[in-house]
Symmetry: C2
Subunit: 356 residues, 2 copies
């Protein structure tokens, strides 16, 4: 059973009195209705689009007025801890899917939200997460239109997992994609790398750092609109989440059958994050980001792209970090700060589980 | 990062050699690519629609040729055990979302699939689940177009959870909904009630029954097409999953501001399921189904609707189980087998956790 978040709250329902989530809240009966009414509908009200049906509904003609293709993407979120400097699992779940839509060139329209909750979770924790989702969705200009809740017994999941799925519309004529990079193109990022990975590791208490590094978690659809306008020849964008920048450039090199040359000295990175990586023996190229895109633009549009990004609050530290070459197609090479060269491959093991 | 299931498998990738899923398989690096290529793309190949992007894409004009509204719905699946007589979590995850689309009158177009996996799960178990999803999607005529995988440490989730989200198209002029029932309408179900709930309970070994009751888990979009053609005045449909038939009739009575009168003797139910409920003290009205809809049709279309359902393999035991009245709006009353009357309310506690 799917619960559209626009279902009108029936007057007979009362606010929840329980302090923790019980199995009954996932049972499909009146306790589940109370939870949905009190926690979800109160936060998401006004954002939904559907009648009180098992589904959200959208007028196709209105979607077609905005573009010619529908984009559809999903992501599960299992981040640990639930709350961390700069964000929480709810903000992350909205930003992640908004960004997956936007990097494909789509204007986000609506999200769904399926939550799996561990019995015993404090209702107040759930409220905080849901409020954060609502605020982030509002900031991104996207509706959370429909959802589902399941409750599992203590020990069958860790607190709370969220899956968001998004639909968006791609405007006619816009065609970005990971196969489109050509030798000579410039590789750009919109700011400091590795903050999210470092913030999560630090929040887990694995390292007692004085500096609170904040996650860069943010919805990037506004920034991306700006970039598309400034660089109409834009080849591709991808958000550098799990697997970091290294995963994105490797996918790109392989899909476009080109070489990529990065310049280590040009990578924008906080000294704290670089220090953090040195202490832990981590490679910052593999650190997760939740508010960073990698974009490839033709060389002649590179200055305009960079200026547009830097004029946006989420792109002030944007930088050109490398270029596309015809050497060694499928390979990524980095000029190190010491003047040498090394191959940047995809992450082989796991660096940080439950980073998102 | 979202993984579209149409990404071409690169020639350099090898079949997985590991027998169990490790944290590296969720890390965003090469192990995750291998898992996705070997387990997901090999099962779902040919079904996807998108270029190798972070999203699936659909031509809006092609969708508009099929209808005027887009439906969008999501559901999480946490069923325990993963495999049970008549189905498994993969089949359930596809049927559940296909049915949530279809009961709203939508023709299912595509699903997304986000899986959360516990470290240590056997790869062969995952393969079986994914193959089952692919087979069920094929049978339902729906693509599994995009997805995501996360891996959490041992003990952080129980084996495997799946969230599917679906998009579908509602044809112009079709308008079914839970607010549309009117006094005099007939309430119909397409067959035997409670099989899924009984099958899961039995599969958990809580009761050593000789008879293997099978889950009724099935995609109902074909059956629903038949029903829509036979009863053009169709008011509403809803699949009777968690919370059983009782949840659906209560939602209906409240949303349409009508009374519902059920007749216990007319409820189609296996003697084994009735016996099962008596032994365990369960009320069969609250037992979950995964292949049953409740439909409301005008009285004059009731015979045609019933005949159409019975002519379909998934509707052979279809029956009229009650009618819509103007008495006590919002209330459901059942004439019992002993000739008395009782109120049928929504489930208050939890009957069977992790039933779907």
């Amino acid at each position: 059973m799917n619960i559209p978040f626009s279902t009108p709250t029936a007057a007979r329902r009362r606010p929840m009195t329980q302090k923790t989530v019980t199995l009954a809240h996932g049972g499909g009966g009146s306790a589940m209705r109370d939870l949905i009414d009190d926690v979800f509908l109160s936060a998401f009200s006004g954002e939904g689009r559907a009648a009180p049906e098992d589904q959200a509904r959208f007028d196709l003609a209105a979607l077609m007025a905005r573009g010619d293709r529908l984009a559809f993407t999903t992501d599960g979120f299992v981040v640990d801890p639930l709350f961390f400097p700069g964000g929480d699992i709810g903000k992350l779940a909205v930003c992640g899917t908004v960004n997956d839509l936007a990097v494909g060139g789509a204007t986000p329209v609506a999200l769904s939200c399926a939550i799996i909750i561990e019995e015993g979770l404090e209702v107040e924790t759930l409220r905080r997460v849901v409020r954060s989702m609502a605020e982030t969705a509002h900031a991104a200009g996207v509706a959370i239109a429909t959802g589902d809740t399941k409750v599992v017994a203590r020990g069958a999941c860790d607190k709370l997992f969220i899956t968001t799925t998004g639909i968006g519309v791609i405007r006619a004529g816009l065609d970005v994609g990971v196969t489109k990079a050509r030798p000579g193109d410039k590789v750009i990022v919109n700011g400091l790398l590795g903050d999210h990975g470092a913030a999560i590791l630090n929040a887990r208490g694995d390292l007692a750092l004085d500096t609170a590094i904040e996650s860069d978690c943010a919805p990037l659809n506004g920034l991306i609109d700006t970039l598309i306008s400034a660089a109409p020849g834009l080849r591709m964008m991808r958000d550098a989440t799990r697997g970091g920048i290294a995963a994105v450039v490797n996918e790109l090199a392989e899909a476009s059958k080109v070489g990529i040359r990065l310049d280590e000295l040009s990578l924008p990175m906080r000294p704290e994050v670089m220090g953090f990586c040195e202490i832990l023996g981590l490679d910052p190229l593999y650190l997760a980001n939740e508010g960073k895109i990698l974009a490839v633009v033709p060389a002649e549009e590179s200055d305009a792209a960079l200026a547009a990004l830097r004029a946006h609050p989420l792109g002030r530290e944007a930088a050109v970090i490398g270029e596309v070459t015809s050497e060694r197609p499928g390979r990524v090479v980095m000029r190190t700060r010491f003047g040498g060269e090394r191959i940047v491959d995809m992450l082989v093991g796991d660096q940080l589980p439950r980073i998102c």
